[in-house]
Symmetry: C4
Subunit: 263 residues, 4 copies
């Protein structure tokens, strides 16, 4: 019984702080800062010269972070049985390990330990370094923006599916046509239909890098027609996500101003 | 009389399944998978090397698909008289042959048979291969997205016409002006007004490939002015299509949540 | 008195046809076709080779058009006194000549007659040829799209002014900053602040031709910041025009469906 | 007491004119014109040749402007004690000096005086010349557009923060992935994650200069996916600013039409 109380106290400390819980608040700030610094470290490490020059500090910081994240991981694993969902000391913990939350925590530390136990070539190790960036998802516990992403995608799942189908069909039709028109004149740019899809995405999202574009008159007429009518279709999935976020944001604002009025 | 019942049973099997009709459901899934695989085959065939390497499998799959689609076509042709609209055994069938639905089905198989009966040069055969992609429209019977496209275009026909007129007029005026300004300095890029329209589309859709752009100060000032004011006009047709889809999608969602509440 | 009746009959014939007036309808179609063909002729004349090859036909068509448009101009000038506004036989006609409608009609024919009476060098004559394109505005009498343009700009005048001010200020600030940052490294691309405005328009309208872009790290950071925050500001004028058109279109649709219900 | 009346009269003259106050109106127009001409001068000075040719006139205009702005600055400093907020003759004035309004006025003249008192190298002087452009913010007292910018940013602060976080996270994730995919093939374009962020901004704002783009098939697939889903996220901050302006503009229009109806 006392054991459970310890676990609950621990969980309430390491989870997102409720108002008034000062220690928990400090712990949150500490972990969030650590995560952000980790992300910054992964990013600036890639700048030529910086890593070589400050390798020692980067490595120390990496060791330090992994130790903290490992302790956090095992504390959570130990305390998780305090929740009814994971109550069983063995099966509950196993179920917890495979929860999304715990998997993200594991992904944050595993890439560090794997090369110690297994023999790996450079390519794989390089990939594992990239995995360190997944630590950013640990912010998901604290950041509103992250929580919103999941909510928005869940709620608009179906609209996203329908609009992505439209995007796919439009992409297939436009790049097939363009391929048959331009392939003979520009065999190196419009090599195949899948390759032409790159043109089709660049055009219909209006990014227009300019690395591929039609040169035949017929190709240009087709591209103009596709662009004028198709840009709206390609804007649909991004627009649905954007609208989802906007409605979540305005919902939050309303709630907040309501709460303020209550006080 | 019994004949008609057979036809109706056949139609209800090969058409989109109503709830509960299991065989029809399996038939739908089979045909849809076949169509999707056909589209995928047409697309990846164009990748250099792949066709040469796996020509045999591609050809077998093509034969198989055409046989299925041909059987489907004639089954539909036989059974169509069960519908009142095409009731007459001869004239009804002829009228059915010229319905959009049947024409799409015919377009899906005809490109295969034509070269067997007629002598054709490579260019035409290549074009006929492209026609195989039209099989994607056979999905129209099953896919909501396809049904929506037709609905949206029909409902917004007039708005589309008006906005496309605006787009055309803006395109004519801006490219004529730009042609007269830039032609002397860049005769190879702004060769004629029709050629300058390519610049005008690339700019006003904000694609901006960067293959043509004004270089004279006057041309740049004009391009800036046209871009700042004209981009909205060019966004109208795409926007109308996008708004049409969005309203169709939200209508569907509402209907569905209403039906759920009823249950 | 009888004279006035003739004038009114003439005006009702050459103006946009009311329902039932068949001759007027045919006249409208004839003039509109002539205008559209004129615009098409101006456009395809600029295609190298075509003008040289078919010069005779282009010239005959030009003579024919100018004769028709001249007759139309003088018929209108003669008949205008039937309207109360231009009732006085001399002053009324002079006032009519300076009305926008009449000026557009004059601009459509004057470029043809001027070189006959005055000695002009090639450059001016070339410019006058461009003026033939203004005949497109003669469509303004018949086309809904044209009538809408005028309405929309009139109604949204003030919003357009405010947003264009914002665009101008943002353009000045962003190009000044960018000029001071990039000038030393790319003196040929960012030659001066006015020249840098070309970059700023291409970026903030998201056209992005790719002829000028920052290369210094500081320039890139600034460009990213300006783009993420500024694109919305640059989209305002175009958006206001687009919204204006959309509201005009939907107003028309409503009116029409109302009229239909009445019948 | 009389002193205070003088100060108030002075303030009401140099501040934005209330209706009916003619002298104040003329003063406003004079100062606004001077500011606009200053901005124009700073801009066209940077055009090669113009400054060298007309240096004398530019310098005279600069002296004249600085004298006027300096007099204005000290008049405001003298008169500010008439306002309750800055009533104390010493501390009130010091507090006024550090108000945003006064700092902008100071920034407009200080760059002129600093080089007279301190020894500075060319780079710093060049930077100070740029600071003259800050005079544009002096328009803030008179221009609606400027007043709106401040209001909009203040009101949408929180939405902007949330959406900018989303933009940052999306930028980090997409450029990290792209860096790991493209770095080996294009080490000079995708040198590091921060460098790859330039690609990510150019793509997700749909500017697409075309100086960097993925070339590997995997990179292209990723870029397509990121573009189709991410463009909406990047459009959020700009969209929030734009929506803020639009609502401010329409509020103004409504107030105005209300006032008109009252009259």
């Amino acid at each position: 019984m006392r054991d459970k109380r310890y676990k609950e106290a621990l969980l309430s400390t390491i989870n997102k702080a409720e108002e008034g819980n000062r220690i928990s608040r400090w712990f949150d700030v500490f972990i969030m800062t650590l995560i952000v610094l980790n992300v910054v470290a992964v990013i600036i490490e890639t700048v030529e010269g910086i890593y070589l020059k400050y390798q020692f500090y980067f490595d120390v910081f990496e060791y330090f972070s992994v130790i903290i994240f490992t302790i956090e991981y095992f504390m959570r694993l130990w305390a998780c049985t305090a929740k009814e969902k994971y109550a069983h000391p063995v099966w509950g913990r196993i179920r917890y390990i495979f929860s999304i939350e715990a998997l993200i925590d594991l992904m944050a530390i595993l890439p560090f330990y794997l090369p110690l136990f297994f023999d790996m070539d450079m390519r794989v190790i390089r990939l594992l370094r990239l995995f360190r960036l997944l630590r950013i998802f640990k912010l998901g516990r604290y950041s509103i923006a992250f929580i919103m992403i999941v909510k928005v995608i869940e709620r608009r799942k179906e609209e996203l599916m329908i609009t992505l189908t439209l995007v796919l069909v439009l992409m297939i039709l436009s790049s097939s046509l363009m391929y048959y028109i331009e392939h003979e004149v520009q065999p190196e740019a419009f090599t195949s239909i899948p390759a032409t899809m790159w043109w089709s995405v660049a055009t219909l999202t209006t990014v227009g890098y300019g690395d591929v574009y039609p040169v035949t008159p017929l190709g240009k007429v087709l591209a103009a027609f596709i662009a004028i009518l198709g840009i709206g279709i390609f804007a649909l999935p991004a627009g649905i996500l954007a609208a989802g976020f906007e409605s979540e944001i305005s919902k939050r604002e309303k709630n907040r101003s309501k709460n303020k009025r209550k006080e």
